[in-house]
């Protein structure tokens, strides 16, 4: 077992180093006029003569979005790996199952009915995500979806499509927030108030803590209901807790950054390829890889069309869609 512990520590160190590197890169580069040389000067403690703009860009613009990328990536990575274990479906991902769409639809509705677009509509997002989660659970109980992972995803795609269509109509009717909402609806990390970062950070941390206590039970659940009961767990209670926490995490992520798809698919996929299918091993890697991937995607989104920026959701879609196709194209769907 010590060998295993050593390997776990080594892997954690590796991912954390990668995350730290990306963190600095994220502070250094941007689409704006502040170059990486100035940023590096400031970060290494030679910022006296650099002026207010560099300060502002680094600490008021880049730092919050970097932290937000880490938080949202971790939340989505954790949600993905938990949803996949609970539904025993490698394709189960908040973005594809309609959980994110439920959250964002709820936010659009809230704004349509008068909420402020710049505020963090966390309650609405969480309620929407919860409704999405319950629909997923109901759909996964329908005969057929359990054996065929793609059907669950089709149901999710239908739900997402419907909700997105209604959202678009609402945005057409209401010019008040249409521009801001349109950007946010693809998923964006930029320009969120620091309050949003702090709040979604706390919620995500709380959700992850709850999940940590449930990891043994969740891993037993992957051996089937009967075995989980035999090992002393209560499957329904575990599933319900897990789905509530996923709703919390996806709600927080969506309220802060919009419905970002594919992170919950790609991060656990990579984590499992690396450490095996047991969620007790793949939970931390999924979470940290989620942060890394979203942060990397955010950096790319700033650099491809300088001086403009892409919404980060576009970049994650470009990374995630090929992975999804690769998983589906396999001869036999991997089961969980």
């Amino acid at each position: 077992m010590t060998l295993q512990t050593n390997r776990t520590v080594y892997r954690m160190a590796l991912v954390l180093t990668a995350l730290a590197l990306l963190f600095f890169v994220s502070l250094l580069f941007g689409a704006g006029p502040v170059g990486w040389q100035d940023s590096l000067w400031l970060l290494t403690g030679h910022g006296e003569g650099l002026g207010e703009q560099v300060h502002f860009t680094l600490f008021e613009l880049r730092l919050p979005r970097t932290l937000l990328a880490i938080i949202v990536g971790a939340g989505l990575g954790a949600s993905g790996v938990v949803l996949q274990t609970v539904t025993r479906n490698t394709l189960a991902e908040p973005g594809l199952l309609g959980v994110s769409a439920g959250a964002s639809f709820a936010i659009v509705m809230a704004i349509y009915w008068g909420a402020s677009a710049s505020a963090l509509n966390l309650q609405a997002a969480m309620a929407g995500a919860l409704a999405g989660c319950l629909l997923v659970l109901a759909a996964s109980q329908v005969s057929g979806t359990r054996q065929d992972p793609v059907r669950l995803i089709l149901a999710g795609a239908a739900l997402s499509g419907l909700l997105l269509a209604i959202s678009s109509v609402l945005l057409l009717l209401d010019q008040r927030t249409a521009d801001e909402m349109r950007f946010w609806l693809i998923g964006a990390l930029a320009g969120r108030p620091f309050e949003a970062v702090r709040f979604s950070g706390l919620v995500t941390l709380a959700g992850i803590c709850v999940l940590l206590f449930r990891l043994p039970a969740l891993s037993a659940l992957s051996l089937g209901h009967a075995v989980a009961v035999g090992l002393g767990h209560r499957p329904w209670q575990v599933q319900l807790t897990a789905l509530l926490v996923v709703a919390l995490l996806v709600g927080a992520a969506t309220a802060a950054a919009g419905p970002i798809a594919f992170i919950g698919l790609v991060a656990p996929f990579a984590a499992r390829a690396w450490v095996g299918p047991d969620i007790r091993n793949s939970f931390w890697p999924s979470l940290l890889l989620g942060s890394c991937i979203l942060l990397a995607a955010d950096i790319i989104s700033r650099l491809v069309v300088i001086p403009y920026e892409l919404p980060v959701g576009v970049v994650t879609a470009f990374i995630g869609a090929p992975v999804l196709l690769a998983v589906v194209r396999r001869q036999r769907m991997p089961t969980l």
Partner: protein
């Protein structure tokens, strides 16, 4: 008040006589799905330190009974007693340290190795903080030795043969280190040689003092390996006792609708069915 006092005195009397509560028993158990009753008003007691085989025709409720005994199903009426206490009122983890269950249908994520599967058996013994102890490692090792899967430890479960996979699952349940093991058709879909391997493991477990309850389809295997038999039909117990007492030509007729002659295996001494044919048909 009166009855309470009487029961109290009666319990005290039982204890003074050294009568321990049965390891596992059912009292007027009623099990079913939705409005359908599958096991009806069933009472039984599992003898300790023996192999009990539950037999009966398809759909007679034997797997349902096992699910009820293993607290997979909540009874509609009656109760299951584990060590004299209602199983549903005990903590899940503490039940899991007394009773292990091998269900009929087994699922495992792709890529899970044999050793990883067997380690799951230690979950009921692990707390939130203390994770993996030497005791855990020893039990896993012993379970894998007993079921002869040690050599397969690092292999993915989906790459070993059917017989090996079945023994790996059995090892997981053995690693749970419970005095009581419930096995739902532990040898279904195995060929004769692999069936024997599994039954030999089960016999060794009983020699170590464990109590086994298993649902068995193959009546001859049940006759050969079981010490105690429970014959079920339509959710009721038709007969129970030693194989010699239970397996009669009349009972086979009642259970399966077949005529047969009961003989004794000249080698093992266990019972055999000969000349089996459906009622009304003549050979």
């Amino acid at each position: 008040m009166d009855t309470l006092a009487t029961t109290g005195r009666k319990n005290a009397l039982d204890t003074s006589l050294g009568k321990k509560p049965a390891l596992l028993s059912a009292e007027n158990l009623m099990l079913g799905y939705g409005g359908k009753t599958i096991v009806d008003q069933l009472s039984l007691e599992i003898p300790a330190g023996q192999i009990t085989a539950i037999i009966g025709p398809n759909g007679c409720g034997k797997s349902t009974l096992l699910a009820g005994l293993a607290r997979l199903m909540k009874p509609k009426a009656g109760r299951v007693l584990l060590n004299g206490r209602c199983i549903h009122q005990q903590q899940g983890r503490s039940v899991a340290r007394q009773l292990a269950l091998l269900p009929q249908q087994m699922l495992a994520p792709d890529g899970l190795t044999v050793a990883e599967l067997v380690r799951f058996g230690r979950q009921p013994h692990q707390g939130m903080l203390q994770r993996w102890s030497d005791t855990d490692a020893r039990h896993v090792e012993q379970a894998m030795e007993l079921t002869r899967v040690s050599a397969l430890a690092g292999q993915p479960l989906d790459e070993v043969s059917g017989g090996q996979r079945q023994r790996a699952w059995l090892a997981m349940v053995v690693a749970q280190d419970t005095p009581l093991l419930l096995l739902d058709e532990p040898t279904s879909a195995l060929d004769l040689g692999h069936q024997l391997e599994v039954f030999e493991v089960i016999r060794q477990l009983v020699r170590q003092g464990k109590t086994i309850v298993m649902v068995v389809h193959d009546i001859i295997a049940a006759c050969r390996y079981a010490d105690h038999m429970i014959a079920m039909k339509n959710g009721q117990v038709l007969a129970s006792g030693t194989p010699d007492a239970v397996v009669t030509e009349r009972l086979m007729q009642q259970l399966y609708g077949v005529n047969c002659q009961i003989m004794r295996d000249p080698v093992s001494g266990s019972l055999l069915l000969a000349g089996v044919n459906r009622t009304g048909h003549v050979l």
